[in-house]
Symmetry: C2
Subunit: 197 residues, 2 copies
Amino acid sequence: MSRRNGEATRKRIVAQAAGLLNCQGYLRAPVSEIMRVTGLQKGGIYNHFESRDALALEAFNYAFGRMRDRLLSAVSRKKSPSDKLRALIGVMRDATKLDEFRGGCPIMNLAIESDYADPRLRAAAREAMGQLVGLFERIIREGMELGEFAKGDAHARASHMVAAVEGGLMLSNLYKDESYVRNIASRLEQEVSEGLR
Amino acid sequence: MSRRNGEATRKRIVAQAAGLLNCQGYLRAPVSEIMRVTGLQKGGIYNHFESRDALALEAFNYAFGRMRDRLLSAVSRKKSPSDKLRALIGVMRDATKLDEFRGGCPIMNLAIESDYADPRLRAAAREAMGQLVGLFERIIREGMELGEFAKGDAHARASHMVAAVEGGLMLSNLYKDESYVRNIASRLEQEVSEGLR
């Protein structure tokens, strides 16, 4: 196997495993399922990763990267902090229909799954959640500086928004009913329109 | 083994497994860990349960029962809908310190874990979440009838409250920092004091 082919195979395994693991669990999905979606034998998979956890970590980082790109792309087209914040909330509102969120939010999934598990997976969930809350927080802070939003604790507000949409997405996935996350997104959009007062 | 001893052993396994599975995952925790906390061999465990999933289901129902009892007990001491709702929020605010929530909220844990898993586990997560949202919803509806709360969609409000505290609890568990769920609970208590206007 040439080095270039090896790298291509490795990337393909990560991408294919990412979709599977976000649905069936980063830690729970059986290796037999990873073999099925990649079309490889166990040896062919572990040739590229030192362990099951190492593959789970790369698959999570791939899934989180796609989610982050989707959020950043929605924000990049907007000028004002209010519009940027509404764009973030809009992605989460539509998450049940987006491929990036199939199986739920990758960060929440790993956050729940990685408790009492491999500390590298736990650290990855924390790092990713920190980036998500930080994205909301920076826009809220920018809006405060520009006078679009009332002064307040930007981190607490960002955490509340993330908690509410994550909780809503969990309910929508549990019941396969998008109204939960959509109703919560509407409430948050209303708060943004009122300047977070 | 007498029938009575068998039943006592079975109950002990469920109670001991419940604490473990809520921390290490209802579907993920290895049987070796269940053997460790119960002090039984594999055969001694499976003598009482038809499968790993059947034990997980009973352990979840045990954990959810304890959580529900804690919530109902907090509510039972209160008279007005506002006080009842604050009592529910108060239990969630303190959840990181309560034994019933060690390892996180059992319902959210199973909701995340049971996607694409045994349909009986999925159904149990839905049933339990329905009871949790329903508890908030009945109190909100009562408060509307008594004029304590503004008229509105009681189910949507209850779902939003549950989503926010569950999301907050997830963040607090992820970062081992109780401030997330406490800040969100304070916001919700404020909304209750303002009559959910």
